[in-house]
């Protein structure tokens, strides 16, 4: 593969994956450059090759051809001679079912990786990992006596204690029921906020992408079909995930500005606008938060409405009209850099004569924090 010659010019910290792996039933061929920070979701239907891609990055698929390099350090570069084995790559890996060692206690599992990590690379102290992931009462238990969610938290802590340069999470929530998922998501969000390790997060659950990821790589049948910030790709991801029409939403990242004068509303600065939300408890000014705006909660008007109970009315420009022939077309509008979706009726589309480039006012009935 010709990509080998390009690795020398990688930006510091970046992850380069240019690999090919022909398998029966799936031919994986991927060419990616990812920044060396933040959470990148690898999203796609089952069988798209997401887990295989993650295994290649970890060095668990020796037959993969091509280049894998992190921060300019080449892990494999085409020839077999240059293959850095998994145990020397310094990646943390959380498997779908946790893969805890059944013959060791939780403490033994945590110490297994720690004992094999040279002291300078240990960045997370044990008691901090234990506290972060709420493992205090579990240390002397065997994995067989943990719930699914507890097992995954131990697996995450075990991976973190090795001071990984890259954290790979392979559908860490897939084996959990809804309660288990709800219990572990906040822990993962906390890791995202407090830890600077770059993360590759494999999932086929859109909700996890929207809540946890900064960027997304959309994988289908072994090929990358789209990659970019989650906020930009949100509507496309929802198409892939076959989200129900009335659940389609836009996603935007913002920073908390503070409260309004009355103290009832929280102000969130997104690109091109300031959104007003019902008071968010515990929101600190400057904090990054992500919001979801359902397309059915956005209506469009040609003139600014008069006095209204709607909290957010923003000037916008029509970018695209999808499904103009369907009973309920979906209109994409741009508010100074933030994309919103509006589900309107075909009747209104004709009545207002909406077309790309047109100036409108977007009235937003509801904004939900993710």
């Amino acid at each position: 593969m010709s990509a080998g010659s390009q690795t020398g010019r990688e930006a510091a910290g970046g992850l380069r994956i240019a690999v090919r792996l022909p398998l029966p039933g799936l031919s994986l061929e991927v060419d990616l450059r990812l920044p060396g920070s933040g959470v990148t979701a690898i999203f796609g239907p089952s069988g798209a090759g997401k887990s295989t891609l993650l295994r290649i990055v970890a060095g668990l698929e020796r037959r993969a051809l091509g280049v894998v390099a992190l921060a300019g350090e080449v892990w494999q570069g085409g020839g077999r001679s240059a293959f850095v084995p998994t145990h020397r790559r310094g990646v943390g890996y959380v498997f779908q079912e946790g893969a805890l060692f059944p013959h060791l206690t939780v403490r033994g599992n945590l110490e297994y990786g720690l004992a094999r990590t040279p002291p300078p690379r240990r960045r997370v102290p044990v008691d901090r990992a234990v506290e972060w992931l709420g493992l205090g009462g579990l240390l002397d238990r065997r994995p067989q006596r943990l719930s699914g969610g507890e097992r995954q938290r131990v697996a995450v802590a075990r991976a973190l204690l090795c001071g990984p340069r890259l954290l790979l999470l392979d559908e860490p929530l897939a084996s959990l029921d809804a309660t288990g998922k709800a219990a572990i998501l906040p822990w993962l969000e906390r890791l995202h906020r407090e830890l600077s390790v770059p993360v590759l997060y494999v999932t086929h659950a859109l909700e996890e992408v929207l809540r946890l990821a900064d960027r997304v790589v959309l994988l289908e049948a072994g090929r990358v079909v789209a990659t970019g910030p989650v906020t930009e790709l949100a509507s496309r991801l929802q198409g892939v995930a076959l989200v129900a029409d009335d659940e389609v939403a836009a996603v935007a990242d913002g920073r908390v500005e503070g409260m309004d004068a009355g103290g009832d509303l929280t102000l969130l600065r997104v690109a091109g606008a300031s959104l007003r939300l019902p008071r968010v408890k515990g929101a600190q000014p400057g904090e990054r938060r992500r919001v979801r705006v359902l397309a059915r909660d956005v209506s469009l008007a040609l003139a600014p409405p008069g006095r209204t109970s709607i909290l957010n009315v923003l000037p916008a420009t029509v970018v695209e009209v999808a499904g103009a022939d369907t009973p309920s077309p979906l209109v994409t509008v741009d508010v100074g850099g933030t994309r919103l979706l509006a589900r309107i009726s075909r009747h209104s589309l004709r009545e207002l004569g909406l077309a790309p480039g047109q100036a409108v006012f977007a009235q937003i009935k509801g904004v939900a924090l993710l």
């Binding site: 060095g59 310094g90 990646v91 498997f95 805890l100 059944p102 013959h103 297994y112 990786g113 065997r142």
Partner: protein
């Protein structure tokens, strides 16, 4: 009724040496068989299983032919200055190792296969190299298989007859193990001695198997 201890002691000695050799050879072989995708796996598995179906006399016959001073292996061995292989304790060990091979390799292979790739891959991502992974993950998780392999390999060697008769003959104190001594006593109509030896073997075998099954029902360590 007098119990001659010599054949019993020789049997125990042979079974012990054979079991140690089998564990040393069988562990890497079973590990390879459990993990390889090589096209050589099926023929090698078949060879390992041969002693299960062959009459022991067939195995013993070929060993006798091969290991004799005029035979292909025995000839080379003797030119290299080795002691005679047939009608000797060394020959008994070689024969017993081959004869009991499946009883050690198969439980180990099954145990290693049951460990699966996942714990070993997890260990690799935690910084453990291949030898480290084998020692700290594969061995403890396959511990049960090692107990089974050791007991079966030992017990099966204690019980062999045909192979040792062919390759070892019947030299008192050197190759006359318990099973052959029993046959001799019966031939000579010394039923008392035959009973003594037979009962000892019966009690021993039962005790060993009882040990295996008694520990098998116990849940995994530490639970």
């Amino acid at each position: 009724m007098r119990l001659d201890p010599a054949p019993l002691l020789l049997t125990l000695q042979l079974a012990t040496v054979t079991t140690v050799v089998l564990l040393l050879l069988g562990t890497p072989l079973a590990w390879w068989l459990a993990r390889t995708r090589s096209r050589w796996r099926p023929p090698i598995e078949a060879v390992v299983a041969l002693p299960l179906v062959l009459p022991p006399t067939v195995l013993g016959f070929y060993l006798l032919v091969g290991l004799a001073p005029q035979g292909p292996v025995g000839g080379v061995w003797q030119r290299l200055g080795g002691p005679p292989l047939v009608f000797s304790f060394g020959g008994l060990v070689i024969g017993s190792v081959l004869y009991s091979l499946p009883f050690v390799v198969q439980p180990l292979q099954a145990a290693f296969a049951a460990v699966g790739r996942l714990p070993l891959e997890a260990a690799a991502t935690l910084g453990a190299g291949p030898v480290d992974r084998f020692r700290t993950v594969a061995l403890p998780l396959a511990g049960r298989g090692f107990l089974t392999a050791t007991v079966l390999g030992f017990a099966h060697t204690v019980g062999e007859f045909g192979v040792v008769l062919m390759i070892g003959g019947n030299i008192p104190g050197r190759t006359r193990v318990a099973s052959i001594a029993i046959f001799d006593h019966v031939e000579a109509l010394e039923y008392g001695q035959a009973h003594a030896l037979s009962l000892t073997l019966l009690a021993f075998s039962f005790a060993v198997l009882l040990l295996v099954y008694a520990t098998r029902r116990r849940p995994a360590a530490g639970e």
